[in-house]
């Protein structure tokens, strides 16, 4: 089995990574560290997942989140969507395999993918509200978040949620506080079947290969790894039995990228806009220099007086 992480030490220790390891910081420029830390990743093997929701439970508990008790709407998904308190969610899909006619119950753990090229961070206007560490973790910094919701628009996976309580954005932190002391995320620690494992991205890819071979031997000829290049790869990856159609797993995007609209807005628009404004300002100055000012002459004034008088007399003349 995949070697379990040791029990956490209760002796206070230093963090294994911090601000010095930032490679991206929203609305700011950072000088990336000379040496990048080994990239970490969480691998979610959908074919091993039994949809028990231990990950949801562990996430709520570790992060001291209080989710509301909802209702049953005729499905197993509870809560019904990600929320500011629920950073991960099991999504259930009943899918009849057209080839075998067998029912397949596809259960996918949804949550932040920790993109190598994070759309949320790109869209964020608040300096340091979203950061990316050199080990790949993308984290939100509550103190700097202004609750504008741009991250929601930037995210290709529709993950961040804005709390109506404090108007701040929330999402999975990959348990940065646990990783910082050499632990894995709470969900990975809890997962009963080790459908969720955590380690270096390289280890995860190797582990995934083994899983995919096993799945192929069981007739899932399209089994594969979901590590979408469109966002530069992710630090949360899936092993899928039907990697050729990720969308059947509760709409997992097929080849996700940051929306061109967002790219346009955060790219061209920004520069073109300032260019236009600048151009006009300069233009005005030049015009002033070339054309000088438009003055009212003495003559204009007398013309005005004359006109006023003439009209006045006209009126008097008329009966």
């Amino acid at each position: 089995m995949f070697p379990p992480l040791p029990n956490p030490s209760t002796a206070p220790g230093p963090a294994r990574f911090g601000d010095k390891d930032l490679i991206r910081r929203s609305a700011s420029t950072v000088t990336p560290p000379a040496q990048r830390q080994t990239e970490v990743a969480k691998l979610i093997d959908v074919s091993k997942c039994i949809g028990c929701k231990a990950c949801q439970s562990a996430c709520l508990e570790w992060n001291d989140q209080h989710e509301e008790v909802g209702v049953n709407t005729g499905v197993y998904d509870n809560p019904h969507d990600l929320t500011p308190a629920s950073w991960t969610l099991m999504r259930f899909t009943e899918w009849v395999n057209p080839e075998t006619q067998n029912l397949e119950w596809l259960i996918r753990k949804d949550g932040c993918m920790h993109c190598e090229d994070p759309g949320c961070l790109k869209a964020c206007p608040a300096p340091g509200a979203i950061v990316q560490y050199s080990n790949g973790i993308v984290d939100f910094v509550k103190e700097n978040c202004i609750g504008c919701g741009y991250c929601v628009k930037g995210c290709p996976f529709n993950i961040p949620r804005i709390s109506r309580v404090d108007e701040k954005a929330y999402k999975c932190s990959l348990c940065s506080d646990r990783v910082a002391v050499g632990q894995g995320p709470a969900c990975a620690k809890a997962c009963p079947t080790q459908a969720i494992v955590f380690g270096t991205k390289e280890e995860m890819k190797k582990h995934a290969d083994g899983r995919i071979t096993d799945l192929k031997s069981r007739g899932y000829k399209n089994a594969g790894l979901y590590d979408p290049p469109g966002v530069g790869g992710t630090h949360v990856m899936y092993v899928l039995h039907h990697a050729d159609k990720p969308e059947i797993y509760a709409g997992l995007p097929n080849n996700p990228k940051i929306s061109p609209l967002v790219e346009l807005w955060k790219g061209v628009a920004k520069y073109a806009g300032f260019a236009a404004i600048g151009a006009l300002a300069v233009g005005s100055v030049l015009h002033r220099l070339v054309a000088g000012r438009s003055e009212v002459s003495r003559e204009d004034e007398t013309n005005a007086q004359r006109l006023a008088r003439e009209e006045e007399t006209k009126e008097r003349a008329s009966p």
Binding site: R288, V290, D300
Partner: protein, 232 residues
């Protein structure tokens, strides 16, 4: 008696120089309130538009407050503009003269206004500002509501929001450009600022820039407050 170019309150006082009331106190107040909201919106908007300008959020008490206040100022702008709209929409309607005026725009720009066709209360450029601002403010309000996370997050899809945020920023940029032109125009033509500050302009100013309007004022007994008393 034609008075197409006259707005309630316009008045001509003979004398040297002739003095003309162009903007009532209410009109001026309305204009400046609109102007103020525009400036605040520009500042708060730009602060969230480009990291380089994020420091501007300081003016509004930090990022969160900026994010919270901006939409409300937007509503304020909307009201302000509505006021101006109902006040001036008639005198901003298209007239054939605007066409000929536009054809000779280059002449205008080099300052030879005497060679321009006589225009009424507003010339083509001023009308363009009036209408374009109207349209853009509408667009900004609409797209603004879509991305007003705090209250309207639930009503649109993420993709609609993405469109909205793009449209909103483009509209804002264009507005800022228009404002620049507007302000420069006012500064360029000497004697114009007094119109929005004191509400008055000289007859000469009117003769030079809005002769058609001046003629109507002069010809209008209600507007033309002559000094001479009628003879028996």
């Amino acid at each position: 008696m034609r008075r197409d170019e006259i707005v309630e309150g316009d008045a001509l006082h003979p004398g040297d120089p002739v003095v003309i009331d162009r903007y009532s106190t209410a009109a001026r107040f309305n204009h400046w309130m609109t102007a103020a909201s525009l400036v605040l919106l520009a500042l708060s908007g730009l602060a969230l538009f480009h990291p380089a300008l994020y420091f501007l959020t300081g003016l509004f008490g930090g990022g969160s407050n900026t994010r919270a206040i901006h939409p409300w100022i937007g509503l304020f702008l909307f009201l302000g503009y509505m006021g101006l709209f109902f006040r001036f929409w008639k005198v901003n309607l298209w007239t054939p003269t605007d066409g000929t005026w536009l054809k000779k725009l280059h002449v205008f720009l080099i300052g030879h206004e005497e060679d321009m066709p006589e225009v009424g209360r507003y010339n083509f450029a001023q009308k363009a500002v009036f209408w374009w601002m109207g349209i853009l403010i509408m667009i900004s309000i609409a797209s603004g509501l879509v991305i007003w996370e705090q209250y309207f997050a639930a009503y649109t899809t993420v993709d609609q929001k993405r469109w909205a945020v793009l449209i909103h920023s483009v509209a804002a940029i264009v507005m800022i450009c228009i404002v620049i032109v507007h302000v420069y125009g006012a500064l360029w033509a000497r004697g114009t600022m007094t119109a929005m500050i004191k509400g008055r302009v000289t007859g000469g100013w009117a003769w030079r820039h809005h002769r058609k309007w001046l003629r109507e004022l002069a010809a209008d007994p209600k507007a033309n407050r002559g000094t001479a008393t009628p003879a028996e």
